[in-house]
Subunit: 473 residues, 2 copies
């Protein structure tokens, strides 16, 4: 039944939107499309309304107000780690702010979330000389004994090198994974999997070179995951500077001894996904979701990751409501909770709504910065990407379209289920300089850029939620 109706649906969609004539939809991404001239014309007809939305936000003060709400939110709450009281207070604040801004359709869904609390952490090099080493534990790391662990360091470049190293050289030592940053995706595996891999070879603790291309002696945290049936060893990140120092000392034949102390507690707490709806005027059951996560790491202020993405997504239904622009379908902003420990809020939402996924027409997330906007990274069928590409033409020069295959963080869970989705492309070249570090503060943000992102995000969502055709699977 399900497959037959899906088949009929696909046939219907194609007859409504496609023709035989092909053309290149987007100057950044050579896909050949064959959308019907009527649909192309319909999409082009949104030029005036998108201009209105963007003008109201950028020039008429709405964007400035939103930025002040954002800045006040960050200054008031600061870091909002999963399971913390501060996170829950910040969620209450956003609920109240929604209602104050005239949108009453705000609900929450409870989620059980990890609550890992960092205690004192220190690393001291004892030999060949005494030196303090800046350190930051990785989320879910176990503690050391009270006196810490004192052991020799072995510096390893890659999992391959670890594999090729005899266990006897690893046993009883602290492994430092000194993998240089290539891309976040390539390098983050040392953070997420390093401890387990080192433990299997007999290491007593593991460290990583922080996952960043640039440092002013800044350690970067993030989630890590112990494999089942592996001895859980303490694991932390150090700076690029100290990783290079330890590498040079090892290359010079020095025996490097360090003491590492790490303390933390770990339990579960209740949190909430926050859902803000601007109900569609014709097909309210159909959803265009815009999202960001409201939790952050416990260092820095969570301004960039993901205060910016959270605020522009929250702002989308709020501003459209203020402008009395009700689209055909419902625009739903979701402020995911507990993204940082591993998409916990998003997984709970997926699970709860697993039988209504066909209602999600399109899903968007901004979680890679709200610097100057460039366009969208779009996942979905060719026809879905053709339609979104056509929509992007309304926003030139914010009209880049890429196809990384995995847009967003939370929304990957939905995209992997075949739901078309997109993340915000923006000039985020320095994103990982600040990511998961004390450097994630309001200072990395620029009002004009965040306002531009918000304007683009609201306008593009509006068009997708209002056009006559669904975004096909």
């Amino acid at each position: 039944m399900m497959y037959l109706s899906l088949f009929l649906f696909v046939i219907t969609v194609y007859s409504l939107i496609s023709t035989n004539a092909t053309y290149v939809v987007n100057r950044y991404d050579d896909i050949e499309c064959n959308l019907k001239p009527e649909l192309i014309k319909e999409i082009a007809s949104y030029k005036n309304v998108t201009r209105t939305i963007m003008d109201e936000i950028i020039s008429n003060g709405y964007g400035r107000t939103m930025y002040k709400q954002y800045s006040d939110f960050i200054d008031t709450f600061g870091a909002r780690p999963s399971g913390s009281i501060t996170l829950e207070k910040s969620i209450d604040h956003m609920i109240n702010l929604t209602i104050e801004n005239g949108l009453n359709d705000v609900t929450t869904e409870e989620v059980e979330v990890p609550h890992w609390v960092r205690g004192l952490e220190s690393v001291v090099m004892l030999s060949p000389r005494q030196k303090n080493i800046a350190v930051i534990g990785l989320g879910t790391s176990v503690s050391t004994p009270p006196d810490g662990i004192t052991a020799e360091i072995i510096v390893i470049s890659s999992f391959k090198e670890l594999e090729n190293t005899d266990d006897k050289y690893i046993k009883g030592k602290i492994v430092l994974f000194d993998a240089h940053y290539v891309t976040y995706g390539d390098t983050v595996i040392y953070r997420s999997q390093g401890a387990s891999k080192a433990s299997k070879k007999g290491a007593v603790a593991s460290l990583i070179r922080s996952i960043t291309p640039f440092s002013i002696y800044s350690p970067h945290t993030g989630a890590q995951f112990y494999e089942a049936n592996v001895t859980k060893i303490p694991t932390a990140a150090i700076t690029l500077e100290d990783a290079d120092l330890l590498r040079r000392l090892q290359d010079d034949g020095e025996k490097i001894i360090i003491n590492i102390k790490m303390f933390s507690t770990y339990d579960q707490k209740k949190s909430r996904n926050t859902i803000v709806d601007l109900k569609g005027k014709e097909q309210p059951e159909k959803l265009v979701i815009v999202s960001g996560h409201i939790d952050s790491w416990d260092v820095g202020q969570g301004a960039m990751d993901d205060g910016g993405g959270m605020i522009i997504s929250w702002f989308t239904p709020v501003i459209l409501n203020l402008l009395q622009l009700k689209p055909r379908r419902t625009i739903r902003a979701i402020l995911w909770t507990s993204e940082e420990p591993g998409l916990i809020g998003a997984a709970a939402y997926l699970n709860k709504h697993i039988h209504e996924l066909s209602n999600i027409n399109f899903i968007m997330e901004s979680d890679e910065g709200t610097f100057s906007p460039r366009g969208l990274d779009v996942a979905g069928s060719k026809i879905a990407r053709c339609i979104v590409g056509e929509v992007l033409k309304l926003f030139s020069p914010i009209d880049e379209m890429t196809n990384s295959g995995g847009p967003g963080s939370d929304i990957t869970l939905f995209v992997n289920k075949g739901i078309p989705g997109a993340s915000l492309l923006n000039k985020n070249e320095r994103y990982f300089w600040f990511h998961h570090s004390e450097g994630d503060t309001m200072n990395v943000q620029n009002m004009a850029d965040v306002v531009d992102c918000a304007a683009f995000w609201a306008a593009v969502s509006y068009v997708i939620a209002d056009i006559s055709v669904d975004i096909p699977r």
Copy 2:
């Protein structure tokens, strides 16, 4: 007598080196020169020897060896604060290294230096919310009482604003000088003088926005000086990020209360200026001095400030000796001690040698980075700059010449006495990102750039020390 001989000297020099024909000496700095064609020809004749020096350093391995000596020095000693045992050990190391490299003419001159030792430091914002604020005390700051000082913050933009603020708004408060970075010279006055100025208005402590244009939540230390007859109040730097946060909170009408704790000790110790001579073959009493300082702040590793400048200056007589290139005059490398607390080593040298200053033909310092070399910032008479400009032509494209009026740090004491001198121009646009912070490590250095600096520094010193004419006052 002294004046008469100086007059005769000037006349003689001019007749040897100047003519009536004028030309522009340097494409970066429009000074019209009228050097005699014989001198121009003589300087041009050094092309082969400068090429040899640079080739030996850059291509034949000498530079690579020096870089390893440099890197090992930094990795072995790390930070070398004034008055510390580590600094003295690092001086011993450089003495031994000089002798190991074949140059025995190395001496030291004792200097009494400040020994300010940082203890625990913390700043916590208590209201409007609890937040740790990264802090670094300024050199020579007094301690707080054991429980710290708890007081309201007032954020002030400038000395002018402080002056225009009624004392009653300052009394009993902690002043934060939130002066945005313009240039180091413009902005550093808030660090060096802020505490005294705030104290005079009744403040109980003072903070500064760190003197840097860019931050990843990095506080920057540096020297400060209490005026006589002013109550000494504790003083420290915070990050750009927190300065902006406190500014926003004040602008929103929040009452900001912080607790600041700072502990330190302060006494005097013995240290040494280190002097490495390559004696001149014809006029050994005449000196071309090349220099950098060997001490550093107590944070970071003192790799950039001023490990790089120290090593290339030390290397100049060492490499010329190894290459058996003895110039006419003596090349003297000086590794200044205790620069950071206020040019203490340089002042002691000036004082000790005050009656022999006429022997200093030219004085150079590298203390603003050893990134890719660009040329020289030259202070001195027009004729002095004409000659140095002519010498720089040998090194095109490393041939920029500027005239800031105050080249170097230590050597300003000598330049102010009328001695011509120069500092190394280099691509140091990011210098203040790392300066006096934990970010001053080997990671900001690049081997090829440091080697290029060393090659240029040695070759340009050689020419100045060997040409037939002195650099005139």
